[in-house]
């Protein structure tokens, strides 16, 4: 009995397996038809091929951020005259690999310390502990982190608290009376600036 009459008179289909179980009508199960199995195998094989072919671009697309993971570029921070000798100043530079929809996140903050005419240190604001923005206190010559209380000296070295190292430093260059840094990567313990 593969059909039933519902109260509406509409036939209700019962899903039955195509190959019926052994019974009075099917005394012995017939051997499987080889050609039907053959097409099934072709189907499985083709599907596997299609899946593999489709997964190449998908995986490549998903992993594409890794291609630029360590990409840094030289970028201008400002004229040398903006950085008085003996002082540490908070400033920003534009992220070298930015998109039109980055908005305010296209800018990267950093601290520029000028020790002498041609001697600089450029620190990332990100605390080496968990990345919170450290603040500079010129009165005591310390950088303090508001999150877990990491403290750094004016030369960026670790003073106290949980940070495992000093502040991350960007490479810098002087080009025609301008300060340039090599930026573009969020400084962390895995990729120090």
């Amino acid at each position: 009995m593969s059909q039933d009459e519902s109260s509406t008179g509409l036939p209700v289909l019962q899903h039955a397996t195509v190959r019926s179980a052994p019974g009075p009508e099917n005394p012995t199960p017939k051997p499987p038809v080889p050609r039907r199995n053959f097409l099934l195998r072709v189907g499985i094989g083709l599907s596997a091929l299609a899946g593999a072919a489709a997964s190449v671009p998908i995986v490549g697309y998903l992993l594409s951020p890794l291609r630029n993971a360590g990409k840094r570029d030289w970028v201008r921070v400002g004229a040398l005259s903006e950085f008085p000798i003996g002082e540490t100043r908070l400033t920003t530079f534009a992220n070298p690999s930015s998109e039109a929809w980055d908005g305010p996140t296209a800018m990267v903050p950093c601290y520029v310390r000028r020790m002498a005419n041609d001697r600089f240190q450029v620190f990332a604001v990100n605390c080496a502990h968990l990345g919170c923005p450290v603040r500079w206190f010129p009165e005591s010559g310390l950088f303090m982190c508001p999150c877990h209380g990491g403290v750094y000296y004016d030369d960026g070295s670790r003073a106290s608290g949980p940070p495992p190292r000093g502040l991350f430093e960007y490479q810098w260059q002087i080009r025609r009376d301008e300060l340039w840094v090599r930026g573009g990567v969020l400084p962390t313990l895995a990729t120090p600036a």
Binding site: S7, P65, S97, P104, V108, L130, P133, G149, L186
Partner: protein
């Protein structure tokens, strides 16, 4: 009227003849459940599910206006908060609904654990439930990023810093997390895709299978002490109990679910109306660094744990504890899949819940008022009480000035105000002699920077003179080193 009803009935019959779900729904409604599960202890799971639906509805409504672009997201949240009718309320319901959903999920999980419902034959229901916990926390974390403000921006920085600690693949994980080498436009876009497509899709699929299993395997009976679960006898006993002493799910058990879910929705609506939406705080502008980023309430315990761990254990614990915890939850039904179900005879289970709950509450409480964070404006913005300045010599007053100007107050409280990072110094002269004070100021310690290179000798002299005056009137300042006096015969 009757003609209308019969027309509706006809449409229903026509639809069901094709969909054929009416029978399943009727069977599910009528399926017998143990009489003792028609209880107020069994309402938390259904309420969590209902809140998930509320989150889907409000989330879709918010997505009609929200712009998932780093340049515009913050502005579109302002429009939602202030310009469109009722959209501030929908944001508030989405935010409060999220908090209540996580809270109810944790309560549901504790109840299921204490009632032994994870045991045979409901192992898979429990494991999918663990997946639902992770997915819900994933929604809460990615949702925090949708509120693209300064906390979200620096929160992503913290997420990247934690990922970077994974050995070998740290920098790859940071790149995959942020969608590039830095927090920018592509970061918000990928968190939007996670929050709106990936995680909700997994969540609804897993939740439906979870509910299906509850219906198929049957809801856990009220555990009786001494009635042990064995693989041989349990199923037959459960069937007997359901058929001899069962009640139909609707209405006997369902009515409590209905009442509780409705109450929870009302509470969420009242919270939303009274307390309003969450944020956004300041713009996600990395140039504005006057901020102490803090996670949302359900992640505060992690923030607190990260502050309190010893530095050398930090990386290991960040990376190992979550893996062990998730593995333990998933393996629980295989470790303790049979035997006693009742919490009355499982003191260890009760202890685990009590310890985890009190640890969670204590860490969250600490996270709300982080004593380990310096008070960044105490040095310039917090006045010294007059009693700590009266009858001091000019040198001592100069020392008080050094104390303020060198940011000592950011970590050390005086007169009950200032930072709590270091000890309060109201009575410091009782504990440390002049020499010890000088050494502490100049050399610091692991928890305090050394000021040797940053203070003029005259400033040190003034500061220490002031610190020496900080003792109660009835208790003199320490004269001899406490250590040496203790060791002398």
């Amino acid at each position: 009227m009757d003609r209308w009803l019969s027309k509706v009935g006809k449409v229903g019959t026509w639809l069901d003849a094709r969909l054929q779900v009416g029978g399943t729904i009727r069977d599910t409604m009528a399926h017998p459940v143990p009489r003792d599960t028609a209880s107020w202890f069994y309402v938390f799971g259904s309420a969590t599910f209902v809140l998930m639906v509320i989150q889907f509805v409000t989330g879709i409504l918010l997505a009609l206006v929200y712009v998932p672009s780093a340049a515009d997201a913050w502005q579109s949240l302002q429009v939602l908060n202030h310009q469109i009718a009722f959209s501030w309320f929908l944001r508030a319901v989405h935010g409060w609904g999220s908090n209540f959903m996580v809270a109810l999920l944790l309560i549901h999980m504790s109840q299921v654990f204490l009632f032994g419902a994870f045991k045979y034959p409901r192992e898979l229901t429990w494991m999918i439930g663990v997946g639902l916990l992770l997915l819900t926390l994933g929604m809460a974390f990615t949702g925090q990023i949708m509120r693209f403000d300064a906390d979200a921006y620096w929160g992503l920085g913290i997420g990247a810093s934690v990922s970077a600690r994974v050995p070998f693949v740290g920098s790859w994980l940071v790149g995959l997390l942020l969608g590039g080498p830095i927090i920018a436009g592509q970061t918000l876009s990928r968190f939007f895709a996670l929050h709106v497509f990936v995680v909700p899709g997994l969540l609804i699929g897993a939740a439906l299978v979870h509910v299906l299993l509850v219906v198929k395997v049957g809801i856990n009976e009220w555990p009786m002490p001494g009635r042990l679960v064995t693989r041989k006898t349990y199923l037959a006993r459960y069937q007997r109990q359901v058929h001899e002493d069962g009640v139909p799910f609707v209405p006997d058990a369902f009515q409590r679910d209905l009442v509780f879910s409705a109450l929870i929705i009302l509470v969420v609506l009242v919270c939303a109306a009274v307390f309003g939406p969450f944020g956004p705080s300041g713009r996600p502008d990395p140039r504005m660094i006057d901020i102490a980023p803090k996670p949302d309430v359900f992640f505060l315990w992690m923030y607190a744990a990260l502050a309190l761990l010893p530095a050398e254990l930090e990386t290991a614990l960040i990376l190992i504890v979550p893996v062990v915890a998730i593995a333990a939850l998933l393996l629980l039904p295989f470790i303790s899949g049979t035997g006693e179900k009742s919490w009355k005879r499982r003191p260890f289970a009760v202890l685990v819940v009590v310890l985890l709950a009190s640890g969670f509450i204590a860490l969250t409480w600490l996270g709300l008022q982080p004593p380990w964070s310096p008070s960044m404006t105490a040095w310039s913005g917090t006045p010294l009480p007059p009693r700590l300045l009266k009858e001091r010599t000019p040198l001592e007053l100069q020392g008080a000035l050094v104390f303020q100007n060198k940011q000592c107050r950011n970590c050390h409280a005086l007169g009950g105000t200032g930072g709590d990072r270091g000890p309060p110094l109201d009575n410091v002269a009782v504990h440390l002699t002049r020499d010890q004070l000088i050494r502490q100021v100049l050399q610091g310690s692991g928890e305090m920077p050394a000021y040797g290179d940053h203070l003029h000798p005259a400033e040190v002299a003034a500061l220490v003179s002031y610190l020496e005056t900080l003792h109660p009137p009835h208790q003199p300042a320490a004269r001899v080193s406490a250590a040496s006096s203790g060791s002398s015969p």
